[in-house]
């Protein structure tokens, strides 16, 4: 399979704290990679390095290479702003822009950048992709905060999809949602795999097992094991992975 994202000896720091240690892995195109691990293991830092959101935190720095389609995105000459249009992100807490309508939220990535386009068509396409269209098509001019938590999160996914990214990073996208909303998001992830490559961070191991093709286990900033999801959950090679997935930590 064609590698979409290649990470080579990635290191990340918060001031003196070495948050990611020499992580290397490859995500094939049109697959879902799940990142699991206990709190503070570097999962979130890892995905935030992929779209260079990490470097926005004061005192944060990183080294190593992240290649998307073979192109190094951490090279000096690459503008992180352009990179983030190719590598989209969905956050743990749904964060629609509260001052904007549902419609404007979807096209925010274009509008805020002054990009013109066929907004109505794009809004419909993105909302359909995010499986939200039928629920909101009659209230596109309402405020985004009038939606329920699960709808808000799908709106955020639609907003990320509207800029047409190639890679979508999801940082615990369903951790604040009820099981039905979670199932919708998971169903969505499986469908999105057709058109993009997805990296999802999750605390919920069953969720990782359900949605991902491969799973990476992080511990104390290190990538302990990365393999096919089924193997990680039935027969992990590393004892630390085994301990984590069977619940023998701490």
């Amino acid at each position: 399979m064609r590698p979409k994202v290649e990470v080579r000896s990635l290191n990340a720091w918060f001031k003196a704290n070495h948050a990611l240690r020499n992580v290397s892995l490859t995500v094939p195109a049109n697959t879902v990679l799940a990142i699991i691990g206990p709190s503070g293991c570097g999962k979130t830092t890892f995905v935030r390095c992929l779209n260079r959101m990490h470097e926005l935190v004061p005192g944060a720095c990183q080294s190593g290479n992240v290649l998307v389609d073979g192109q190094d995105l951490h090279a000096r000459r690459v503008d992180p702003v352009n990179l983030r249009r190719r590598v989209g992100m969905v956050f743990q807490r749904a964060n629609p822009f509260p001052t904007m309508t549902i419609f404007d939220n979807v096209v925010a990535g274009l509008k805020l950048n002054g990009v013109r386009g066929d907004y109505p068509a794009l809004v419909e396409k993105s909302l359909r992709q995010a499986a939200l269209w039928d629920e909101v098509k009659d209230r596109l001019r309402q405020s985004a905060v009038s939606l329920s938590g699960g709808q808000q999160q799908r709106l955020c996914i639609a907003r990320a999809l509207a800029v047409d990214p190639e890679v979508l990073l999801m940082d615990e996208p369903a951790s604040a949602l009820d099981p039905i909303a979670t199932a919708r998001i998971e169903e969505l992830i499986r469908g999105l795999r057709e058109s993009l490559t997805i990296v999802i961070v999750t605390h919920n191991m069953q969720q990782a097992a359900r949605v991902s093709d491969s799973t990476a286990f992080f511990y104390m900033g290190e990538l302990i094991e990365h393999g096919p999801t089924e193997q990680i959950f039935t027969n992990p090679r590393e004892s630390r992975t085994e301990d984590y997935v069977t619940g023998k930590f701490g």
Binding site: L56, R84, N95, P96, F97, A108, N113, C156, V163
Partner: protein, 278 residues
């Protein structure tokens, strides 16, 4: 059971004490309102809002020029103070986690503690002396200097209240920092900042001391920024220190008008913020 009774008793006594403290605190406020309304209401008429002040001995007349002057001076103060105040607040919130930011915050803190009469003297030195005359502009500058530190601090706080997630959402969409600050963060905080501006304006409108030797006073209508201008507060001061009983009455009525003006500004600010919260 005994301890439950005891706790209930303590609870009751403490609630009572708190209520008492509230009542005592309300006494000066209510009596002030009562005094201003009861003494000022008699002189209230339409012409009091529109007419020029009448000389001693004449009945009638009003404080129309002072009301206009107050609005005029406050308007000038807003034109100067709001951009500086809000701008400084945005800077402090976005880039203020440095020594410089801490310094600015400290100065703002000190500045908001400076007695307003001192601010008046500064404006006198800065504007009145070079221009060689008292003017609305000098009054506006004085009020602006008063507004900037509070406005800067409240703007900073309001921007910091904007969830970090929104900023990240925007950045993650490939929106550059400056556009994010302006079109997402400031936009989201705007309602709160409007409220802050209204409350700060209300406070500035009630100031007398900074205007005493900046805009001074004027017996006539004035719309020129470089001329002395009447204001409600100075007018009240002048009426109040005069030896004439009817001027004292006019001082009360003017005070009532000032109270209404400031009160409605503050109320508007509150309503705005409540609508935003909902």
């Amino acid at each position: 059971m005994n301890s439950l009774m005891a706790r209930r008793a303590v609870n009751w006594i403490m609630t009572g004490l708190c209520g008492l403290a509230l009542a005592i605190a309300l006494v000066p406020l209510v009596s002030l309102l009562w005094l201003v309304i009861s003494r000022g209401l008699a002189g209230l008429s339409w012409s009091f809002f529109t007419a020029l002040p009448a000389p001693v001995g004449e009945t009638g007349g009003g404080v129309g020029n002072a009301i206009a002057g107050t609005l005029y001076i406050v308007g000038i103060a807003c034109l100067i103070g709001v951009p500086f105040g809000v701008g400084a607040g945005v800077y402090l919130a976005e880039r203020g986690d440095t020594r410089l930011g801490d310094g600015i915050r400290f100065i703002a803190e000190v500045l908001s503690g400076v007695p307003s009469i001192v601010v008046g003297i500064v404006a006198y030195g800065l504007v009145v002396i070079p221009m060689r005359r008292f003017s609305a502009l000098a009054g506006g500058v004085a009020l602006a200097v008063l507004m900037v530190p509070t406005l800067a601090r409240s703007t900073e706080e309001l921007i910091r209240l904007v969830p970090h997630e929104l900023r990240e959402a925007s950045l993650a969409l490939g929106v550059p920092q400056w556009r994010t600050s302006l079109r997402v963060v400031l936009r989201t905080a705007l309602g709160g900042i409007m409220t802050a501006i209204l409350l700060t304006v209300a406070r500035a409108a009630g100031e007398t001391a900074p205007l005493l030797f900046t805009s001074l006073n004027n017996q006539y209508w004035n719309w020129r920024a470089d001329q002395p201008t009447a204001s409600l507060t100075v007018q009240i001061y002048n009426y109040a220190v005069s030896p004439y009983a009817e001027w004292h009455d006019r001082a009360w009525t003017s005070a009532l008008i000032l109270l209404l003006l400031v009160g409605s500004l503050a109320l508007a600010g509150r309503l705005l913020s409540r609508r935003r919260v909902r």
